[in-house]
Symmetry: D2
Subunit: 347 residues, 4 copies
Amino acid sequence: MSSSYERGFASDNYSGIHPDVLAAIAKVNFGHQISYGDDETTALLADKFRLHFGDDAHVFPVLIGTGANVVALQAMTKPWEAVICASSAHLHVDEGGAPEKVGRLKLWTIPTLDGKLTPELIDQQAWGLGDVHRAQPAVVSITQSSELGTIYTVDEIKAITKHAHSLGMLVHLDGARISNAAAALGVPFRAFTTDAGIDALSFGATKNGAMLSEAIVILNPDLVKPIAYLRKTSMQLASKMRFISAQLDALLTDDLWLNNANNSNQMAARLAAGVSKIQGVQIVRPVEANAVFAILPAAVTEALQKRFHFYTWDQVTSEVRWMCSWDTTADDVDTFVAAIAEEMDKI
Amino acid sequence: MSSSYERGFASDNYSGIHPDVLAAIAKVNFGHQISYGDDETTALLADKFRLHFGDDAHVFPVLIGTGANVVALQAMTKPWEAVICASSAHLHVDEGGAPEKVGRLKLWTIPTLDGKLTPELIDQQAWGLGDVHRAQPAVVSITQSSELGTIYTVDEIKAITKHAHSLGMLVHLDGARISNAAAALGVPFRAFTTDAGIDALSFGATKNGAMLSEAIVILNPDLVKPIAYLRKTSMQLASKMRFISAQLDALLTDDLWLNNANNSNQMAARLAAGVSKIQGVQIVRPVEANAVFAILPAAVTEALQKRFHFYTWDQVTSEVRWMCSWDTTADDVDTFVAAIAEEMDKI
Amino acid sequence: MSSSYERGFASDNYSGIHPDVLAAIAKVNFGHQISYGDDETTALLADKFRLHFGDDAHVFPVLIGTGANVVALQAMTKPWEAVICASSAHLHVDEGGAPEKVGRLKLWTIPTLDGKLTPELIDQQAWGLGDVHRAQPAVVSITQSSELGTIYTVDEIKAITKHAHSLGMLVHLDGARISNAAAALGVPFRAFTTDAGIDALSFGATKNGAMLSEAIVILNPDLVKPIAYLRKTSMQLASKMRFISAQLDALLTDDLWLNNANNSNQMAARLAAGVSKIQGVQIVRPVEANAVFAILPAAVTEALQKRFHFYTWDQVTSEVRWMCSWDTTADDVDTFVAAIAEEMDKI
Amino acid sequence: MSSSYERGFASDNYSGIHPDVLAAIAKVNFGHQISYGDDETTALLADKFRLHFGDDAHVFPVLIGTGANVVALQAMTKPWEAVICASSAHLHVDEGGAPEKVGRLKLWTIPTLDGKLTPELIDQQAWGLGDVHRAQPAVVSITQSSELGTIYTVDEIKAITKHAHSLGMLVHLDGARISNAAAALGVPFRAFTTDAGIDALSFGATKNGAMLSEAIVILNPDLVKPIAYLRKTSMQLASKMRFISAQLDALLTDDLWLNNANNSNQMAARLAAGVSKIQGVQIVRPVEANAVFAILPAAVTEALQKRFHFYTWDQVTSEVRWMCSWDTTADDVDTFVAAIAEEMDKI
């Protein structure tokens, strides 16, 4: 690889900090402030989240996405309850077992074609209510945009929350890439969260240009008090929180969140368009957010990975994943597409 | 209070980021880097920690101090084992139950006069080995500098590690304020850690001028592998880790850690000296690091707390705690001492 | 030792099964019955417990005392909450860390002289409400009769429940030896439980003549639903439950529980009376139930332990514990007293 | 139903205690014995298990099957590791979340046709070794006989242990119905456990004629020490253990285990044979142990369930499960077959 710092397509968390976010950190770096969230920056942030998620929304800044998910889901479950999620959920496959091991959550998983649950799919696990031998299904967790690069429509989410609520279950949304979803749908956050019946969500900022900051947004008022305690107990409470809150605030200022998300989505679309013209490379999933999944010959993947960072998604099928970031440029994409074409030519 | 941003004496985590630390974050903010710790900044940091803690030291950057403690102690214990600590240990009293609830650690606590354990005190709990009814004592955790502002000498630590190891126990050091201890003792970190038989420690950076970064330093090679996994499982692994590592690196560059710690220690000494001249105010614990504990009339405390942030330590005895920070100035101290004198005069 | 089956004074769980209890097991041993508690024996048991504990009492048979405690306390706490108990509580010192490790309970312990808490002692830990850094005190757990052989009066328990409830806390009673307490106080169970404001309790049967059976009795209706699930999740639900319930039923039939408890209490009194006449042996705690604590020369203890099973309670002070059982006879006691006198004579 | 005590086909844990087992309990009910497993009955039991499982086998009596599984699997995993099992594993679907909630185990599940894993199926989850984001596959757990009434051959188990060990994983066998498997295979226990490379297993006794007793059998010596502690910490250690051990001993005496298992297996075969002659009822899984799975009209199931206890296995497909017990008689089976035929005639 020409330089280890070259922009690739491995993950949107390989990117750095957007300059405006870094400036926001610097801007609140003076004097003393009360620690652990009782500072002025965090108070202002609460107002800003209410603008986006409605007057009853409560925001709790945390440190990482796994933390956001596990803290929220603990608040949403009793010790004998379980969470229904897709088999492909980050929660299930990529969090090192934190849900089970830190949150003592049982996950009831459901295979999907596109990373998205439906009321019908949920019913595969939403049974056995009242049976003490079955960890009780109590929460449905969906990911928006999903781990497979797909996006739930507003109506799809409404159908899920309606169904879950009718069964006495709550609905959690893992929004590690929530900005990409909002940008792609062209609606405000609240359209597919607050107004669609979501009870609690993880609001991802790190992948969209922050340095290190995520948030739990509580829309169901019963969950507010538990979160305050569980955030501490689960080791997600920052002492100098003003610097976490400032990052979130910067993203929510002047549509920075939207511009960043639009860019990564558009770059994914450009990448998909470019690649679709190369014979022998197959785009295998809908490109709805900032991820592109493709199948290409293993030898080509190997050659490309010497020049660019990206991950093989499925060794067996030779499927790879390409993620675009807030800082991916059209030139990055075009260079990469040309490289793919070049390597395909060699075989 | 004239301004919420005025520097007070509540906690060293009310302070902001040292300019050199913020500059270090900015300096590594370009291009892409592998996430989750396989970046160049983190690799260089490993070298720097080896300089300070010896060739066999392994550093694992984490997010917060509670996380550093709980991850390390999980690696040091089996599921049926327990940790011996002082009753005043932060681990026991100030971490929201995270050791028990996330780390499923049993704590065997021991009352102390000065926050420091000794081999004799440890023996109050280091018994019942082999008895399945007793959570097995397996680790001694000490805090340096302690929660009561005191410091273990090198020999005191050596006596503890020798005793613990002779009983088959490991020794953990909670170094949330390790720099204050090293500065006060006037020795390198390794003198009272690596060379004194410590097996693993939490290296605090946030209170000493960082924004958000702590580290686990492993000195006992058996603990290296578990930490890598437990850091993720326990939700202490940052995705854009270069920005955590850069902060730690900045503190270890050009003795920034030492200068910051020296300043807060000296300001505590200046505060103690100033206060000791005021009749009716009693300094009640040795001032060895950056904390001053004093007893003063409750009415005076109340009046002062309207002007300055600081915490009452013990409601019953009217004891208060004053912490000095890396950014506390002589002027801050003198103003505060004058205010105390002024309020004492009024009664 | 003449025979390993000789009755000693080590623990009331060295004893066997009362013949009536064994007969009760045999009596329900025919045909098939629905498993996991939906059987007729368990249904009848529920009626019997209501007779003793009031119309709103719910009984949940479980397997062991640690299980009874940990299941009940999980139902009584949220994941960020803690339990206040005496430092000598079985919960804290003798359950292998199960409360912390299975129930993820934080215990706030309080030293006592006699194993009994008081409102004043409770206040040593009942603070910090609303502070997320402090595992929130939510339950007071008391042991009746206590681990030190003492008994709470009805008024002492009422004072505790009144105080705890006024602070928003619940009260749990570990009744591993609840029958000894009721027998000694000469009152029905409900006098110091239901009518004294207890929210939930562990009802011990094994030590009082059962083979293997304990129960959780819920008096606070909010706790009923959680227990049903937590009993399973915490691995305390027997499949062939009729045989657990039959044991509890036998003890509650024809005052068997009372006769057994009276016997062990009376034997302890006889032992204390006998020993108190031997010069050089000191009874060091009030003998209120079926335990006698004494200090005698270590050499005498050693000699006696070659002939009788009993435990040294405190190596440092040479204190020993002698427990009487439902099957201890006056002859057992007199033989033992004579042996003590004999060994004392030798020194 | 004519009587609630009528023998049905719901579960082998609806049955009672075999008379020899009850007699064995009575036989050890005299005098005092050291509690918690240091008694003579338990010592003799250890010898008996060594006869069946080899000289290096260690037996640990426990209380229930879920406990046996969760204690063993905790000993076999580190806190960041996971267990691979079939989606139909009792561990996953029927233990109220105890593995996750008590044992903080992550389960990687695999769909199977017949409840049995194979090396190829295991590979669906045995990947990602060394990746901290993936809970590390460390144990394969198989059930013998399986939850679907099937049985692994000796060679099938050897293939699994060889494959798992080659990947650095251990193999656990859930033997809730291990006697049915041994009886069906016509081999000693050790043929498909010790001699087939199994590391640890749950030995079920309750379903095969005991009142309440299961055991963990450790074949891999590294696991011995952890089990002793974890059994207590996980609330599976009985105080009056002689009565647990006596039950296991009775089953292993004079081939009682084998006779009981042979009976339930033969009754299942008789039931399957009888039912297969009834037109419109379909046996849908191989009948290899004591379970029969059949599909019959929902109306018939409903009518039959008014007269006999048995469970619907799958509401959607109208599949039911019929379990035979150690006490099921040929007459029970014939009566039931006749009833099925009668109800089928009605439609």
